[in-house]
Symmetry: C2
């Protein structure tokens, strides 16, 4: 970024914050559009999400480069350094959210011509709505340095995990009932998992906001509501 050579430290920080907000906007739209593409069976919309990912990748590279350059050039002290490290972390999480929305959209394209159990699509949509609210709230918390809101997002992730586990069980049941739906159900399974992982990235961002606001790293284990990896059979919810 040669154009920044003469800028001040505050200008560098402003530039970085602006780009993080831009990344946030792009990743929110990618998540919303990938879900809408699923619900509406809109392959063209899914393709536009796939195409949008390159922009997010480019933004992340710019942010990381400028943040490292700023650290090298300005030699910031504790609080400012924390802000720069946080910028790098948040950009990495947003980039991963974009990757997951892109992968989701590829799967929407793959199953566009197949039967999709509506009950499950609605379940995935509901999960995505929750994750979108989480992403919006954590980006607001980041901009406002609002530790209370960040902790709230961090706590709420277990609802998403629990919903994912119930969708997982239902998908298994559905596949067993009619093997012809296995291909589309498998894609739905990974698609739901992608959205659950986007939820995990919003909790990572919440942890970064907490670190930014307090200087302390959250070290307690987050409450886990996703027990699907322990699920032995769909009829055995206690496992």
């Amino acid at each position: 970024m040669p154009e920044h050579i003469v800028s001040s430290f505050d200008e560098d920080l402003d530039e970085l914050r602006t780009r993080i907000v831009e990344m946030g906007g792009v990743s929110e739209k990618m998540l919303a559009d990938s879900t809408l593409a699923l619900v509406k069976r809109d392959s063209a919309l899914a393709q536009s999400v796939i195409a949008a990912d390159a922009r997010l990748d480019g933004l992340q590279r710019d942010i990381e480069e400028l943040a490292v350059l700023t650290i090298a050039r300005r030699q910031p002290m504790a609080v400012d350094l924390r802000e720069l490290i946080s910028v790098i972390r948040v950009a990495a999480d947003l980039e991963r959210i974009g990757d997951l929305a892109k992968n989701t959209s590829k799967r929407v394209v793959a199953i566009s011509g197949e039967t999709q159990p509506q009950k499950l699509v609605i379940g995935v949509q509901h999960m995505s709505d929750l994750v979108q609210a989480q992403l919006k709230d954590v980006l607001d918390a980041y901009v406002q340095r609002d530790d209370a809101q960040a902790l709230d997002v961090w706590q709420r992730d277990d609802r998403i995990d629990a919903l994912y586990t119930s969708i997982f069980r239902e998908l298994l049941t559905y596949m067993m009932e009619d093997p012809r739906n296995i291909t589309s159900c498998t894609h739905l399974l990974f698609l739901a998992k992608n959205i659950e992982r986007i939820g995990d990235h919003t909790t990572n961002i919440a942890e970064t906001v907490h670190y930014l606001a307090t200087g302390v790293t959250l070290s307690v284990d987050r409450p886990k509501g996703d027990t699907s990896s322990f699920t032995k059979a769909p009829a055995d919810p206690s496992s």
Copy 2:
């Protein structure tokens, strides 16, 4: 880390390198053991992998804390700063590898009592062998600052992706043939996906080694061999 207040910058770097190597060793063992637990149907071994993850998480927190503290305290210039940023990145990838090996082990426990198609278990084992070799090579490349070896790892990931795609197709076929195997096959599917994602983290580390050795970020898209998200049906390999 109050005990480091009087240490030199080189001592800080040595300490960080030592801990990265330790994290590398723990994550290699977790990956190897989770796969062995699958092949041997050894739930006790799988439980030991699940238990080992807390150690990796703790190491990552220590590394990140010490790296940030070192940046703040030593105000390093370009090359040293690059090393510290790299340490933070590599630690994050190794921590994620541990999470994935832990999730794999939970799935091994879940399916331990069920029929497991041997051909698929062998396919997963083969994929894990490739990923273990990648992880070993990229950790060596990191220690030796060997850019050529890092680029080699980075290129080789497409073999793992291709193998994952073929396992994915075979698992779908297997589920369609006999719906009673859907639960175990679904876990195998996520398990294979976890190992493929560990492969992605080894390429991330390869990119970091390249950045460390050259100061330049790899910006070209890595060759992608995993086309499973575009797979429409197991009998349609052209899609």
